[in-house]
Every structure is written in structure tokens, then in C-alpha cells.
């Protein structure tokens, strides 16, 4: 019987070694260790043995059984791992195939520029003010020190609807309206919006375009405050190493009036195509609010002073992104629009 047992063990171990997958190994388990298996049969057959042999034999059977079980489990671990590896192998995908597209749109480049400017000035305590695009001649011109017949009106050929109503030619009427509404109180606003002028559309002109203007009114507002504010703007918008310079200019609603240049962000001032070899790029117009404008809106120009500035988001977008034709902003070619997806932060 002992020989029989050894024989069984040898057989079982062979079968275990031969099993090539989990299923075959399970069959081996059932065949040798199962309730109907030969080892169980052996144990059952022990009753026929003399009583004194039973413990020895029992121990022997258990040893064999344990060994077979250990071997089997060891083999099982290996086969299971193989099975998993095989499954993983078969499940391998081509990770270079494209992902399922997530459609993402994006804002228009002009909105992008306007919002960037808005947020910058909001962080400096400005509010955003808006107003109608169809405006009264009074707010568009007269309240801004441009009475009827003023020569500077030639600068802005306008779309009139009636003699007194027109499409605003700049966002300045929002300033005039805000001043009137504030009744002599300090102001800090930024005014973005669409404006219209009688220009034929070409690469650098558009009968419709956008502007963003700022207005600060308070006690002791000085021209140096204008310069400091514009300097912060230039650095935030175009880079920390930007310098600004002011050049005298003329606007009917400011006195003194200036134009602001920034040092070229492409060449840093040494001269390139962007700055037309000058090292400087004209960005905006500004000035100290003309006393006539303050007085017309009910402000005491002796007590309160202010500054104003205005710029064209189209120009800024054209400079920043290297866009060569203003009409791109209004054609809505998706090959153009979708390029303004990613952040620049």
C-alpha cells in the first residue's frame, strides 16, 4: 500500500507538471484530491488495515496529500499568472490611435484680448461699463468737446441714422454717459465695445471694429498717474520688460493728449518688421480729461481731474498674434478662429 501511495504521488506530480493551463490543473486537482480521487479512496480503504498500521498509514497519506496540494497550488500560481499575461497580451491596443474627440470651442480672438484687458483693469479696481452702439450725437461728440462743425469731426466719418442719432464712432460716449450718471463722483471704468466708421473695408480698415477705453476721475489725478497706469498695463499685457514712451498728440476730449508706444515685444527695441525698425510700437491714445468734458458732465474741473485712454483690440490682436489682415476678425473662417484655443499663460 505504501508503494501504491508513492506511485500515486509520482503520477500526481507528473500530471501537475504537465498541466498547461488552469483548467487542466483543476482537472488534476479533482482527479487526485477530489472526493472520488484515489487518495480519498486510499483513506477510505484504511479501514481494512490492521489497527496498529492505521496511524502510520494515515500520516503517510496526509504527507502525500499535502505535498501534492502544495505542488498543485504552486503550479496554480504560475498558471494563473500565465493566464493573466496571456489575457493582457491579447488585450493590448494601439495607443497611437486618436482619442475620442471632445469638441471644444473657444472665444473669438477679440474677446480674448478684451477680456484680458478687462481682467487686468478689474484687478486694479476698475468696473466695466457699457453703452448703446446706436448713440446720440450729443454723447458721441458734443459732450466730448466736439461741437457741431468742429474740424476734428472730420477724423471720424460717421454713419448717421438721423441728424442726431448715429452709430457710435468710439466707446467714449460710454464715458460721457457714466460721468453724467455719477453726478460729480469719482470714476474708475473700462469701456469695451463695438464702434463704426465710414471706412471701406480693406486689410487695415474695417467699418466695424472694437475699442476699449478707460476713464479715471478723482481728486489730484495727475498725468504721472496716467503714465504709471499705462506702464502697468503694458507690462502685464506685453511682458515685464516692456518700456513705454509717451508722445504728444491731439484728441478733442483730452488736454494734454498723448499717444503711447511700447518697446517692441518682438525685438526688444533693436528694430524689426513688427516695429518697422523703430523699436517702438504705437498702442494707444490717452490724455488728461479736457476741462470742457468734465464741466459738460457736471464735474467741477477745478476740484476733480482725470485721465482717459483708448485702444483698439484689433490692433493689439494683430500685433500679438501676427495677424496681417483685419478682415480675418469678421470673416469667421474656422481655420482662423480655432487657432485661439490654447492659453498663453
Amino acid at each position: 500500500m505504501e508503494a501504491q501511495l508513492q506511485e500515486l504521488k509520482t503520477q500526481a506530480l507528473e500530471k501537475i507538471a504537465e498541466a498547461s493551463n488552469v483548467k487542466e490543473l483543476n482537472d488534476v486537482r479533482v482527479a487526485y484530491l477530489g472526493k472520488k480521487g484515489p487518495i480519498t479512496d486510499l483513506l477510505k480503504g484504511m479501514g481494512k488495515l490492521p489497527a496498529e498500521e492505521r496511524p502510520k498509514m494515515g500520516a503517510l497519506v496526509n504527507v502525500v496529500r499535502e505535498e501534492v496540494t502544495t505542488q498543485l497550488e504552486g503550479r496554480m500560481v504560475i498558471l494563473e499568472e500565465e493566464a493573466i499575461n496571456q489575457k493582457l497580451q491579447s488585450e493590448t491596443i494601439d495607443i497611437t490611435l486618436p482619442g475620442r474627440p471632445v469638441k471644444t470651442g473657444n472665444s473669438h480672438p477679440l474677446t480674448r484680448v478684451v477680456e484680458e484687458i478687462e481682467d487686468l483693469f478689474i484687478s486694479m479696481g476698475y468696473e466695466v461699463a457699457e453703452g448703446p452702439e446706436v448713440e446720440k450725437d450729443y454723447y458721441n461728440f458734443e459732450a466730448l468737446n466736439l461741437p457741431k462743425g468742429h474740424p476734428a469731426r472730420d477724423m471720424q466719418d460717421s454713419f448717421y441714422i438721423t441728424e442726431d442719432i448715429l452709430l457710435r464712432t468710439h466707446t467714449s460716449p460710454v464715458q460721457a454717459r457714466t460721468m453724467e450718471a455719477k453726478g460729480g463722483e469719482p470714476i474708475k471704468i473700462i469701456c469695451p465695445g463695438k464702434v463704426y466708421r465710414r471706412d471701406s473695408d480693406d486689410a487695415t480698415h474695417s467699418h466695424q471694429f472694437t475699442q476699449i477705453e478707460g476713464l479715471v476721475i478723482g481728486e489730484d489725478i495727475r498725468m504721472s498717474d496716467l503714465k504709471g497706469t499705462l506702464s502697468v498695463f503694458a507690462k502685464k499685457m506685453f511682458g515685464d520688460d516692456r518700456e513705454i514712451r509717451l508722445r504728444p498728440s491731439f484728441f478733442p476730449f483730452t488736454e494734454p493728449s498723448v499717444e503711447m508706444d511700447i518697446s517692441c515685444f518682438k525685438c526688444g527695441g533693436s528694430g524689426c518688421n513688427v516695429c518697422k525698425k523703430t523699436g517702438w510700437i504705437e498702442i494707444l491714445g490717452a490724455g488728461m480729461v479736457h476741462p470742457n468734458v468734465l464741466e459738460m458732465a457736471g464735474y467741477d474741473s477745478k476740484r476733480l481731474t482725470g485721465f482717459a485712454f483708448g485702444m483698439g483690440p484689433e490692433r493689439i490682436a494683430m500685433l500679438k498674434y501676427g495677424v496681417e489682415d483685419i478682415r480675418h476678425f469678421y470673416t469667421n473662417d474656422v481655420r482662423f478662429l480655432s487657432q485661439f484655443q490654447r492659453t498663453e499663460l
Binding site: 475620442r100 446706436v134 504721472s224 504709471g228 494734454p256 469667421n332
Partner: protein
């Protein structure tokens, strides 16, 4: 304004600054120099030649073979100009010369004949054709007889000059003259200004003996000076004068006209020369035109005049439109011997209106419009007399005929140094301020610590203390202004709820895959009302530039759809755009009712995941989902009602409703409209965004996360095809009681397994009690009520 630096040097020392540097200084202190133009264009080897002989080329009709003395030698040059002739002094580009446009002159053979150089026109020297005197416009330029053969043309004829092109702002009318620019440059460089010295011999006869003057409109013409010059010989002007005019952008005509133009440029004072004999009355009368009176102007146009147009007459009929253009009937011609020189002050408003009415803009009118210097009217007339006597051999009659009621006093502006410094945020010393005002030639006195400034009449733009602040600052240098920030108390700043929500709406649209577009507000009559949500009149511009851009839009969709077509025509088949912007409706008051709208247009595929076999074309429901998300994001309950609108598919159109009010429309384009726009299936939406954004949003308070499980029941119903799912959903919701938390359509079947005219819609109902776990019995009770209600409306359970 084009400023020749050589000419400028007559009046002010430019300290030999290189032109670009001078230009930069002028720009930095107030007048923008738009361009620095080198008139020599780097030309060399261009000399005066004498045409000794000139014969026709045997092989070419239009060419001549010339033997030209160029100083060192006689050169044979082939010339194609029609006006070439023996005995002329001409401009010769020798072999090796460079002409503008990088043209190099080489020896050449033309039809077998050698040519050693080129005889030049002025255009070939880089002068614009419209500035070349008419006599030479179609051929070579002929130099004066006394030009020295072989001498250098560039230096001898003032082409070694640089022109500064000034971009003048409307306030700087003073710089529309060489003298004005000289004062500006003098102030910048601290140099004195030399005015022209005027002296000439007068005849014993007086101007008054030949000419009488009446001014019947003293307000429009407060000053009129006339001088009479006789025995003049009308001919070509000397070279230097022609060159200066061409440098200033004026075409030379003859010595009389050229003198008036020269002084226009020099003094900024427009002058006009009348042929005295053609006046035929010995009288000048300035008056307003009679209604309907006619005049033929120098440009040969016949013009009808109105009562507010000021005219110069010979006492009877108009001979000039005052300050705008002369009349043909009194024009100076080659046979003129006596001229009347007019120098006058015409009120700017009158000239502006007249020049606008006639569409006539001249160098004269543009100066009058901005206001000429009252104190230069008389000197300019004297200067003209001088130059006519020098250049046209004229005899100037003694004195002038004058009407003068013009105030020529200087304006006084008082300002304190503190005011100046506090406006600028600077500490400029009093002495520095005085120095700047002296450089500007503003007579200034210091009275009780105040600057009392007498402003020269050439500077009409200096009127108030702030104007003085600017003068001081610009000449002190804007670079010297420190950079500070306002010292006032800080304010919070920020967006209004409306503005913040607009950004949220835009972000949602973009997150949903739409690109933001921007289209024009002006549109055509045809497009103005298409897709408009409200029925109101359209608004038209008084003077549109084109019919395409003549009316204010009432809907964003027509232009948005144009943008979609623009893209699909370029083979981008899937396009999804949105726009926010104003539409313009007739309002209650004179301003329009501007409403901010949001519009969407989509075509092509919504999802294109081809290699995984997923393709989803846009349809009504893709867009509806976006609108629903917008409502959720903005915290408003949007509902949809079947609707109709022109150019939308009658079965696929819905109105977007808010609290029973129609605020928008969405749908698929009508197939006819799609075809007209060359589009495939396209869905659109437009809603009144302002209404949505103006709503106050409720405070957000959280609902506890469910602690008990919910139970769901699915029902598949057979319905008549015309019954809408929304109707059934309402029936279910109404019958479901408070335990019914949600109803959702999860299947729709309209295939051929259904009976004719029927469809199957499956709903999933969710029951839930926040207080406890539901029992089967409770759910069965609630669900039975729902089933009963469904049976009542004729919905059968699908077997």
C-alpha cells in the same frame, strides 16, 4: 504737410541734424513725422547735357539719335521722348548712374545704334507724375538755358534734399506752413526764426487808382487785401521755385500761380490771383451768392451756388468761390499782364460748409477751415508783390486795397506754475517754464507768481491753462514725467452680474464645442428681418456705403449663416458657431431698442470618431441639449413650444420660452433655405440673451444627498405618432404624486414593427422618498395611478 529741409533752413537753423534725427525730435515733441523722404534717392552721375544735334533713328520712328555734350565729352544717346530737340539743356543719366527703383544705366545698343546714357524725365528722377509740370508730363524735362553743361543735376537743382512728411492733428493748423514748422523747430532746438525780408519797389500809381473793393459780408470775410501788379510776364518759374513746390507736393504751372502757391506753403495763407483785365470792372465785391447763381470753376466744372456760399465778384458776376476755388472767367493765362492778388481772411465755418457742399477740397480751403493766422494776411500779400516783381518782372502799384474789421489781438492765458506741476505730477522749475515759453516765442510775463502769456495768433489752439500745460510738458519732454498710480482710495472693481453671466454663457457655448464668431451689425434690406424674433420696423442709415451694409440687423442669424456657408464653401463641412451681439429694434424713444442676443448655427457632423464607427450629424436635439444646459447653468427654467418661423423647417421648429414668454427660437433650416444658402442640414438658434442675463438668480442652497435608495419602473407605451412625448411626460408627472422624482424618455421606436400611425415611447420613472426606504406597496400604488392616467389618455402598454 511736406517739409523740405533745404527750404526750412531759410527760416531756422536746423543745426545740421541728420534728417531722421530732426524728424525724431519733431515727433517726440508733438508733431508726428510719418515719413522721411530722401529726394535724391541715392542718385549719382546725373548731369546737365546740351543736345547738340538730334536726328530720327533710321530704324525706329519714335526714337531720336542725339549728340549730347555732357561736359567732358559728346555722348551719343538714343532718346524716345517726343519733346526732345536740338539746343535743349537736358538731364542726362550717364552710364553707371543709378536711378530710383534701383535702375542702373549702362551703355546699350538700341536698334543698332549705341546709346551712352539716358535723357531723363522728372518721373525718372523719382518725382510723382502728378507733380511734373504739364509741359513735361509726357516727355523729358527741359532745363533752363543757363544751366551749366556737365554740372551735377542733383546738387544744382536742390534734389539733394530730404522731405519730412508731417501727420498733422487738426489742432496744429499752425504747422500747415513752412514758417509754422520753423517756429516749432526753433522751439525744439532753441533757435531763432528768420522771417522773409520783404522789400520791393512800388510804382507811383496806387492800387486804389485801378481797383475798388466792397465787402458786403464782413462776418464771413472780415479782412480782404488786394494788391495790383502790372506789366508782368507770365512764364515758367525758375528752377528753384519749381523744385520747392514739387518738394511740397504742388505742381508748378506758371510764375504767377506758382508764387501764390509758394506763399500758401510758406505762410499758410491762401492767395488768389485774378487776371485784372478779365475782371473787366476794376472792382472786387465780396458777397453771398444769389440762390441758384452759377460759376464755372478752374477745374472747368459748372457749379450752382446757394445763399450761404461766399463769392468774390467783379461787382456783377462771381469770379471765385471765396477760399475754395477761383473762377475760369478770371484765370491767369499766358497773355495776362496785370494781376490782382487776393489775400483774405475767410471764416472757417463758411469755407467748410462751402467746400463740403461742392465736394471741393483744396490746399486753400483746408487751411481756411482750420483757421489761418490773422496777422499773416497782410504780410502774405506783400510777399506776393515782392516775388511777382522779382520773378515776373511785375510793377507793383503803391499800397493795397483793404477792407479790415478783423481782430488781430493776441489771446492772454494765465496759469500758475503750481497748476502746471500738479496736473503733470512733476516739479518743473519756474525758470524752465519761462524758457520753454520763450522758445515758443510766447510773450510771457510773471505777475504775482502767475505766468501771463500772450499767445501769438498763429497758435489758435492755445486757449486755456491746460493747453499751456501741454506745451510745457511736450517741450520739457514726456520722458521726464514720473510713473505713479492714482492715490485715491482703492475701489473693488469687477463685473456686473450681467457681464459675469455673459461670460458664463460664452464659456458654456465654447465648452459645448462652439466657436465664437463676430459678424457685422450692418446688413442688407433683405437680411435685416430674416429670423427676427419681434416684428418691428427696420432702421436705415442716412448715407450707407453700400446696400449690403445699409440696415441695422434685427437678428444675428443671417450673418452667422453667411459665415457657415463661407466655411462649407471651403470644404470645412462641420461648422459650429455662436455669436453674442446686439440686434437693433425700433424703440419708444429716438434711440433704438438694442437687445443683446445669442445665436448658434451648426452644420455637418457633431461627433466624428470615424475609426471607432461613431458619427453623429448635428440635429435639432444636439442644439436643444446645448440650450437646455445654458438654462441650467444660468439657473432659469427654459421650456420649448412647437413653433413656426419663415425659413425654418415647419416640423422642426420650437420657440424657447421663459415663464410663458417667448424669448427665442430654434430649429432646422427649411430645406429651401438650406439650398439657397448652399448648406446641408443646418440647425440654428437665437434667443434674447439680455432677458436671460437680467434675471436675478436664486441663492443656491443644497438639497441633501439621498440617504435612501430610489426605485425605478420602465414603461413602454404605444402612442399615436402625433402625440408628443412631452404631453405624456406631463401626464405621468401629474399622476405620479410626490414620490415620483424623475421621468425620462429612454427609447423611441417608429420602425415597421409598429402599426401604421403608431410609435413606441419608453419612459423610465424614478420613485424616491427622502425620508425613508420605499416599500414595494408604496411604489405599486403610485405607479398604478400613473398607469391609470396613461390609459385614460389612450396610451397603451406595449406588449
Amino acid at each position: 504737410m511736406l517739409v523740405s529741409i533745404n527750404w526750412l533752413k531759410d527760416y531756422v537753423n536746423t543745426q545740421q541734424l541728420p534728417p531722421a534725427e530732426l524728424g525724431e525730435k519733431i515727433t517726440r515733441s508733438g508733431i508726428e513725422v510719418d515719413a522721411v523722404i530722401d529726394r535724391s534717392h541715392g542718385m549719382t552721375n546725373i548731369v546737365v547735357g546740351y543736345v547738340e544735334s538730334c536726328v530720327k533713328h533710321p530704324e525706329a520712328d519714335k526714337l531720336s539719335i542725339c549728340q549730347v555734350n555732357v561736359g567732358e565729352e559728346i555722348a551719343q544717346i538714343i532718346c524716345g521722348a517726343p519733346n526732345i530737340a536740338a539746343g535743349q539743356k537736358v538731364i542726362v543719366a550717364r552710364p553707371g548712374a543709378t536711378l530710383p527703383g534701383d535702375i542702373k544705366i549702362k551703355k546699350a545698343k538700341l536698334r543698332g545704334e549705341e546709346s551712352h546714357g539716358m535723357i531723363c524725365s522728372l518721373q525718372e528722377l523719382g518725382i510723382e507724375g502728378k507733380l511734373v509740370p504739364k509741359a513735361y508730363a509726357e516727355g523729358i524735362y527741359v532745363l533752363p538755358e543757363d544751366a551749366e553743361t556737365g554740372s551735377d543735376v542733383i546738387t544744382n537743382f536742390d534734389l539733394d534734399d530730404t522731405v519730412l512728411e508731417l501727420g498733422l492733428t487738426p489742432n496744429r493748423a499752425d504747422a500747415m506752413s513752412m514758417l509754422g514748422v520753423a517756429y516749432e523747430v526753433g522751439a525744439i532746438l532753441s533757435e531763432e526764426v528768420q522771417l522773409p525780408e520783404i522789400s520791393y519797389k512800388e510804382a507811383s500809381d496806387t492800387a486804389a487808382s485801378m481797383l475798388t473793393l466792397n465787402v458786403d459780408a464782413p462776418e464771413a470775410n472780415p479782412l480782404y487785401v488786394a494788391k495790383v501788379v502790372r506789366n508782368i510776364k507770365v512764364q515758367e518759374s525758375p528752377m528753384w521755385l519749381q523744385q520747392r513746390l514739387m518738394a511740397a507736393g504742388v505742381r508748378p504751372h506758371n510764375n504767377v500761380v506758382d508764387v501764390t502757391n509758394y506763399i500758401l506753403m510758406e505762410y499758410g495763407q491762401p492767395l488768389h490771383a485774378f487776371d485784372y483785365d478779365a475782371l473787366d470792372s476794376g472792382n472786387i465785391t465780396v458777397r453771398h451768392a444769389k440762390e441758384g447763381e452759377m460759376i464755372t470753376t478752374l477745374d472747368d466744372a459748372e457749379r450752382k451756388l446757394s445763399g450761404h456760399h461766399l463769392v468774390i465778384t467783379n461787382g456783377e458776376k462771381p469770379v471765385a468761390i471765396a477760399g475754395v476755388m477761383g473762377g475760369a472767367n478770371s484765370e491767369v493765362s499766358d497773355s495776362t499782364t496785370t494781376v490782382v492778388i487776393e489775400s483774405a481772411y475767410f471764416a472757417s465755418g463758411s469755407v467748410r460748409q462751402t467746400s463740403k457742399d461742392h465736394g471741393l477740397r483744396s490746399d486753400a480751403s483746408s487751411r481756411y477751415e482750420k483757421g489761418v493766422d490773422p496777422n499773416r494776411v497782410i504780410p502774405a500779400a506783400e510777399r506776393a508783390a515782392q516775388l511777382l516783381s522779382e520773378l515776373a518782372g511785375g510793377e507793383v502799384l503803391a499800397g493795397s486795397v483793404v477792407f479790415d474789421e478783423l481782430n488781430k489781438e493776441e489771446r492772454i492765458v494765465k496759469v500758475s506754475p503750481d497748476f502746471i506741476n500738479s496736473r503733470l505730477g512733476m516739479k518743473i522749475a519756474f525758470e524752465d517754464m519761462l524758457d520753454i515759453l520763450n522758445r515758443l516765442k510766447f510773450n510771457t510775463a510773471a505777475v504775482n507768481g502767475q505766468l501771463v502769456i500772450s499767445v501769438p495768433t498763429r497758435r489758435q489752439d492755445i486757449q486755456i491753462p491746460e493747453d499751456v500745460v501741454e506745451e510745457i510738458a511736450r517741450l520739457y519732454g514726456y520722458d521726464e514725467i514720473p510713473a505713479t498710480l492714482p492715490e485715491a482710495e482703492t475701489t473693488p472693481g469687477g463685473l456686473t452680474p450681467y457681464q459675469a453671466k455673459r461670460r458664463i454663457a460664452r464659456n458654456l457655448m465654447e465648452g459645448a464645442g462652439l466657436l465664437q464668431a463676430t459678424t457685422y451689425s450692418l446688413t442688407s434690406e433683405k437680411s435685416a428681418k430674416q429670423f427676427a424674433l419681434e416684428e418691428t420696423e427696420t432702421t436705415r442709415l442716412l448715407m450707407p456705403m453700400s446696400e449690403e451694409r445699409s440696415i441695422l440687423r434685427q437678428s444675428l442669424l443671417p450673418h452667422l449663416l453667411e459665415s457657415v456657408t463661407y466655411n462649407t464653401a471651403r470644404r470645412m463641412d462641420s461648422v459650429a458657431l455662436y455669436e453674442t451681439g446686439s440686434v437693433f429694434l425700433k424703440g419708444d424713444d429716438e434711440l433704438l431698442n438694442e437687445q443683446e442676443h445669442l445665436a448658434v448655427a451648426m452644420t455637418g457632423l457633431w461627433l466624428d470618431n470615424s475609426w471607432q464607427g461613431e458619427k453623429k450629424p448635428v440635429d435639432f436635439f444636439v442644439l436643444k441639449g446645448i440650450v437646455e444646459s445654458l438654462g441650467n447653468k444660468l439657473g432659469v427654467q427654459l421650456t420649448f413650444e412647437r413653433g413656426q418661423m419663415d425659413d425654418l423647417h415647419p416640423g422642426r421648429t420650437a420657440f424657447i420660452m421663459l415663464d410663458g414668454q417667448r424669448i427665442g427660437v430654434m430649429g432646422q433650416l427649411h430645406p429651401t433655405e438650406q439650398k439657397a444658402r448652399d448648406l446641408k442640414t443646418t440647425v440654428v438658434m437665437e434667443l434674447n440673451l439680455a432677458t436671460l442675463l437680467n434675471l436675478e438668480t436664486e441663492a443656491l442652497v443644497y438639497t441633501p444627498v439621498p440617504r435612501y435608495p430610489s426605485m425605478s419602473r420602465d414603461v413602454a407605451l404605444v402612442l399615436s405618432k402625433i402625440v408628443e412625448a412631452g404631453t405624456i411626460e406631463t401626464v405621468i408627472r401629474n399622476a405620479g404624486g410626490k414620490l415620483l422624482k424623475d421621468v425620462r424618455v429612454f427609447d423611441l421606436y417608429e420602425g415597421d414593427k409598429m402599426e401604421e400611425g403608431k410609435k413606441s415611447v419608453a419612459f423610465s420613472l424614478t420613485y424616491f422618498d427622502p425620508e425613508k426606504t420605499l416599500t414595494d406597496e408604496e411604489v405599486i400604488n403610485a405607479h398604478e395611478k400613473v398607469m391609470a392616467a396613461l390609459t385614460e389618455v389612450g396610451a397603451e402598454l406595449r406588449s
